[in-house]
């Protein structure tokens, strides 16, 4: 039984990989079949995950088997769920606003806290801590190297932020112009952004190449099993 399941999985994997790679010779029906089936299977799987891992244990189960207090607390999301389902009916779609407003409010609060505690404070602290010479010597990094690298990182951070500063003053002829110093810093910022995006590109390319090689090896292995 296990062997046959492995065979089915391997066969499906082989066929779908070939269908997707057929795109290398251009858009064709095999590629489209694979992509549409992929979207269908993924959507069905995600819908079942949403039911079994969120809606059933957090909403339906407490409503059926929970205490009276739990049932009372679950009435609010139950009403919210019904309101969201009204989006399906065009005439009643406006009713979903109440549930959407609640989700947007909660999402905004989580975003604010995430931006401050998860990005702003750690990134600012990270930039400051590079200049901690005691910590640098503990890592066997010379103070000069630490200060130089820290200065480059600090300059990169500031110039990149300046690049996104679009405040401008009107000139005598009516056209808008940024301050010359800002223009200069923004130009340096462009170079830092170019380097950063190039690094991201190289990372994504390496990951894509790894996936490509892994798929090619899986095709070779599958064929090799039958030779």
């Amino acid at each position: 039984m296990v062997l046959s399941l492995d065979l089915i999985t391997g066969l499906l994997s082989f066929v779908f990989t070939l269908f997707i790679f057929s795109y290398l010779i251009g858009d064709n029906p095999l590629f489209r079949i694979a992509v549409y089936i992929f979207v269908g299977v993924s959507s069905g799987y995600i819908a079942s995950i949403a039911w079994w891992q969120v809606i059933w244990p957090r909403l339906i189960n407490p409503l059926i088997f929970g205490s009276i207090l739990e049932k009372g607390f679950m009435l609010v999301p139950l009403i919210g769920a019904i309101l969201i389902f009204m989006k399906i009916l065009p005439r009643m779609a406006g009713m979903a606003r109440f549930a959407m407003a609640f989700m947007v409010g909660v999402g905004a609060a989580v975003t604010i806290y995430g931006a401050v505690a998860g990005t702003l404070i750690p990134q600012v602290l990270g930039t400051i801590n590079i200049f901690d010479l005691l910590a640098a010597s503990a890592r066997n990094v010379s103070p000069i190297e630490s200060i130089f690298n820290g200065s480059v990182i600090l300059a990169g951070t500031i110039f990149t932020l300046i690049y996104f500063h679009f405040g401008a003053r009107p000139k005598a002829d009516g056209s808008m112009q940024r301050m010359r110093l800002i223009e200069l810093f923004a130009w340096v910022g462009r170079i830092f952004i170019g380097i950063t995006l190039g690094t991201v590109f190289a990372g994504v390319y390496a990951a894509a190449l790894t996936a490509f090689i892994e798929r090619i090896i899986s095709i070779i292995n599958f064929i090799g099993n039958f030779l």
């Binding site: 779908f16 990989t17 795109y23 290398l24 549409y36 992929f38 269908g40 299977v41 993924s42 959507s43 069905g44 799987y45 819908a47 079942s48 995950i49 949403a50 039911w51 079994w52 891992q53 809606i55 999301p77 769920a81 969201i84 989006k87 959407m100 407003a101 609640f102 989700m103 947007v104 409010g105 909660v106 905004a108 609060a109 989580v110 604010i112 806290y113 931006a115 990005t119 600012v124 690298n149 480059v152 990182i153 990169g156 951070t157 110039f159 990149t160 932020l161 910022g189 830092f192 170019g194 380097i195 950063t196 190039g198 590109f201 990372g203 994504v204 390319y205 894509a208 190449l209 090689i213």
Partner: protein, 203 residues
Amino acid sequence: MRVFTAVIAIAAGTLVLGGYFLPALAPVQTLLLNWATILAGVAVLVGIFNLVSVHSDKIRRHEKGNAYSALLLMALIVTFLFAMILRPDHIIMKIALSGIIIPVEAALMGLLTISLLYAAIRLLRRRAELMSIVFLITAALLILGSATLPFGNIPVIGTFIRPWITQVLALGGARGILIGVALGALTTGLRVLFGADRPYGGN
């Protein structure tokens, strides 16, 4: 109705944000986050229902490519029914996951190898300016520097230039971009909490 939706958004957001700083509000925050998770799960189902209705309409109107829509709907319904009856962790569902979803995702990722290379060449041909040249030189140096060759790393590029670019130059730019994105997210969140932006349809 507009005022009522704004009041819901502001009250829910303020209570959840307050829960991070005031321990007394933490239980309320947990309750509200649980409700939001449930509603997000329901929203996923509504989104998938929308996908079904769009493709059903394509089939009903005999639009071009309706055979693909029929395939999509069949795959969706069969997967959903099996997963609802057997549960997502059943071995049959593992076949769908390891036989279709993961291989297709990996193969599509693999296709990026070709399309990214093609895009890089097009960028150089169409916009040969400072930023694109810096972008491509950086990418080329990093790919060369991380290549595993029979004789080991390429001298200088692999041992000095690549680590310095990734750990110093790119870190500075990435930090600027991240701080910029965080400031943008913070501003957008505050505008929602103050009721200045009402993306839920409250104008």
